[in-house]
């Protein structure tokens, strides 16, 4: 029966054009579903798979979880869909991350704001990182920051997101920490972390503001130098040698949590059942391995605590967006 999820996903829509009208034929059968508000293969896909594989491997759900994709509007399409159509679906969770909180703060997810949905929990976290090429003149964050302060336009930053995205926020916060206006920063937006890294290796940009986990393949290659992790404390394992920005005297933190939300009208009963599932999942050793394999660091924040956390974060980002000149 292991073929089940794939077969269902393909046979159902192929057999019936009716799937065009109702997207939830499978959900009605009682199976759980996770919507990744993006195309296959990205971070949201990974977030959904983390829950789907984790819950299945630990047998916390009896049938495989379906992962469906709803790209569009940097997550706005899925957000509007859940708030407008599947408001009370007890079997549906949607992947979200710090990036979604940024977009909510900037009002980019349409008419609904962060208080609409029920924030369920986060199961893992990644951290921002400041990366330069191995032959760059800067040995530590302080040297980079001093040069940036002296001549902001001489150092080109780049990352995989547009101006105003969470990737850009990292660069903006770094600039702000040394008293440089983010508007004076030279920032190049690439299509994803891979292209940015290629541009760094080719010497086209000088600083790449990426994520810690995507750098793992490159830590031993000797081609790049990670000047700082934007975490509250040092990570373990292969990342143990990377100092945090805070250690180096710059108060910049950028955790990228990977979590989920549910529809606004989901019953307390269903919501609590999910909270319980997630709590139990996060305690399993098997899950810790799964999380690590996906390059995520431990973070468990579920239920009301998470709800408060996200809402507070969105409020902070709103403030930040005003400071860096993205919003008036």
């Amino acid at each position: 029966m292991k073929l089940n999820s794939t077969l269902l996903r393909w046979s159902a829509p192929l057999v019936m054009g009716a799937a065009l009208v109702s997207g939830n034929a499978v959900a009605q059968a009682g199976a759980t579903e996770c919507i990744a508000p993006a195309k296959p293969g990205g971070g949201y896909d990974l977030t959904c798979r983390l829950a789907a594989n984790g819950l299945q491997d630990t047998q916390l759900i009896s049938r495989p979880m379906m992962v469906s994709y709803m790209p569009g509007g940097i997550g706005a399409v899925a957000y509007n869909h859940v708030n407008g159509v599947r408001k009370a679906d007890p079997n549906l969770i949607v992947a979200a991350s710090t990036g979604a909180a940024v977009n909510l703060a900037l009002g980019k997810l349409g008419k609904y704001d962060a208080s609409e949905v029920r924030w369920l929990g986060a199961l893992g976290v990644d951290y921002g990182a400041i990366v330069v090429k191995a032959d760059a003149p800067w040995q530590n964050l302080d040297e980079l920051m001093k040069d940036l302060h002296k001549n902001p336009s001489s150092i080109v930053f780049g990352a995989g997101g547009t101006v105003g995205s969470q990737d850009w926020m990292k660069a903006a916060l770094v600039a702000k920490a040394t008293g440089v206006s983010p508007r004076a920063l030279r920032y190049v937006a690439f299509e994803g972390g891979g292209e940015s890294l290629a541009a760094l290796l080719g010497g086209h940009i000088k600083v790449f503001t990426g994520d810690l986990s995507e750098l793992r393949p490159h830590l031993d290659s000797g081609k790049v130098r990670v000047l700082a992790a934007l975490a509250d404390k040092r990570a373990e394992g292969p990342y143990a040698d990377i100092p945090t920005a805070i250690e180096q005297g710059y108060d910049v933190e950028w955790p990228i949590w990977r979590g989920y939300y549910m529809g606004p009208n989901v019953s307390d009963e269903a919501y609590n059942a999910w909270v319980e599932r997630f709590t139990e999942l996060s305690e399993r050793e098997q899950f810790a391995e799964l999380r690590e394999a996906r390059g995520l660091f431990p973070m468990t924040l579920v239920g009301d605590e998470f709800d408060t956390y996200v809402k507070k974060q969105v409020a902070q980002f709103k403030q930040l967006a005003k400071e860096v000149g993205l919003m008036k």
């Binding site: 996903r9 192929l14 799937a19 992962v67 709803m70 790209p71 010497g203 993205l326």
Partner: protein, 503 residues
């Protein structure tokens, strides 16, 4: 030096891995053949399956790589048979592939394109085996300014497609560029042409654009013909089924040249099969289209893009395996699959996990042979698809595409958008526009703008960055030469009829 490859063949030739390579090739061909489902989606669907089945890393990768290369083979089928590109790389394949089918040569066209695909992929696999680390170093030298130069070159080489109506070609390309502009502007975060609809924030999806422009407009044209003449446009009876050796031999230079071009384009991060198909087709047309037969069912015009797009698919493994940087959207997903197995791609992979790196490369050799063996005999069978009345076939494919697109977007807006694009495409076709320049404008224009913007944000607005490096200067000179060549030739050959020199 090639220990990893010998070891790789040991890994790839186990019965299970051979079986998986075969399965991947077959599934990939199917995914590629169905418009709306491309290699990325195919891999994204199979990845969790491979993981759930508990396949070891090298086996999973062999399966997924088979799907990827198989999809590039499969994409040609609906291009040739239905004039609807099966995936992004197969757009140029419609130009000469479908006219061949209309002449009753669908079988030979499918056979020839299978052989071209094989030749292109083989050139690229050999290139990958021999020069991967070296090429990776060169690929990163291509920054935004160099990519902009490359796009200028690509547009210059497109000028050969101007044909009889340069103005319509120009308008078509500009329309394509316009569609590429829709969505969030990455340089500033400003929304362009989204009309407040969140569905448009991310821009217009390639699949939506292709299915709308080609498949929907085809259905509308068919409806109109049926209404006017009360007859169905049936295809001519199928002629011979097998491709002849002399036809393959006639295309040998087209295949070899395009294989090289496709490989180079594929190695560059950020450009993939669609750009490779376009550049190989236009280059081949410029070099060998002496009698102006390209676009009317010239075998060389079919061999070139098919060899090119398959070579590009393999080429995009170079940056992935050597630098850990994906060379295309599909390799980005594959990279994710590797991470899932706790394998870190990059230069260390060849020494730390030779079974995976070698196994993958060996499986590309094997998969490619499997694909040829699968696709050559099946050419005749697939050509029979054309005996199904077109009023059943094209709407049937469109419905499959609808379902595929809906599956990917879970949103009706994508379907509506597809219909609107289809109606516009129908009107443009009625007005005598060709669809290829629109798609090329859409693909190349988007890349061109992004890279121009990036280059200018690096330099702080100084245009000088665009011709600072040797690579950029070379590309600008090549583009200028391409544009000037017909004029110079005309001068030199002034004794001969000028029309031939300009062709």
């Amino acid at each position: 030096m090639f220990d990893f490859l010998i070891h790789g063949f040991e890994v790839a030739l186990t019965p299970m891995n051979l079986g998986l390579a075969f399965m991947g090739a077959l599934l990939g061909t199917l995914f590629g053949a169905l418009p709306g489902i491309g290699p990325i989606n195919g891999i994204a669907i199979l990845m969790p399956l491979a993981y759930t089945l508990g396949l070891p890393a090298e086996s999973a990768l062999i399966l997924l790589a088979g799907v990827y290369t198989g999809a590039e083979y499969g994409g040609r089928m609906s291009s040739i048979l239905l004039n609807v590109p099966g995936d992004a790389g197969a757009v140029m394949t419609t130009l000469d592939g479908h006219p061949l089918a209309k002449k009753g040569l669908a079988g030979p066209a499918l056979g020839l394109s299978a052989i071209s695909s094989f030749v292109g992929a083989t050139i690229a696999i050999i290139g990958l085996t021999l020069f991967a680390p070296l090429l990776a170093e060169v690929a990163v030298l291509f920054g935004p300014a160099e990519f902009f130069g490359l796009m200028v070159f690509a547009f210059a080489s497109m000028s050969v497609m101007m044909g009889n109506d340069p103005i319509k070609t120009g308008i078509g390309a500009v329309l394509g560029i316009l569609v590429a502009m829709v969505g969030v502007d990455s340089g500033t975060g400003v929304m362009r042409y989204t009309m407040g609809m969140p569905e448009l924030y991310d821009g217009i999806d390639f699949v939506v654009m292709i299915i709308g422009l080609f498949a929907i407009s085809e259905i509308l044209l068919m409806l109109e013909h049926a209404h006017n003449k009360n007859v169905d446009d049936t295809m001519p009876p199928l002629g011979r089924v097998m491709v002849q050796l002399k036809e393959v031999v006639a295309c040998r230079w087209a295949m070899l040249r395009s294989g090289l071009i496709g490989f180079v384009v594929g190695v560059l991060p950020g450009t993939g099969a669609s750009v490779a198909g376009a550049v190989s087709y236009t280059t081949e047309k410029r070099l060998s289209d002496k009698d102006n037969t390209f676009g009317t069912g010239d075998m060389r015009g079919l061999a070139a893009p098919e060899s090119g797009n398959n070579a590009a698919a393999v080429g995009s493994f170079v940056p992935m395996l050597t630098l850990g940087i994906p060379g295309s959207g599909t390799t980005a997903v594959l990279l994710g699959a590797l991470m899932l197995y706790n394998i870190t791609p990059g230069p260390m992979m060849f020494t730390e996990r030779p079974d995976v790196a070698g196994g993958l490369i060996a499986s590309l050799y094997i998969g490619n042979l499997v694909l040829l063996a699968l696709n050559l005999p099946l050419a005749g069978l697939f050509a029979k698809v054309l005996t199904i009345p077109r009023w059943v076939l094209v709407p049937g494919i469109a419905i499959l595409a609808f379902v595929g697109v809906y599956q990917l977007h879970s949103d009706l807006m994508a379907i509506y958008l597809m219909l609107v694009i289809g109606v516009v495409g129908y009107l443009l076709r009625k007005l005598g526009f060709s669809l290829a320049p629109i798609i090329l404008g859409y693909v190349l224009g988007g890349l061109m703008e992004d890279n121009l913007r990036r280059a200018l944000s690096i330099s702080g607005g100084d245009m000088g960055i665009l011709w600072q490096s040797g690579i950029s200067i070379g590309l600008w000179i090549a583009a200028a030469l391409l544009l000037m060549a017909p004029l110079i030739m005309a001068k030199l050959l002034s004794g001969k009829p000028a029309a031939q020199a300009q062709a």
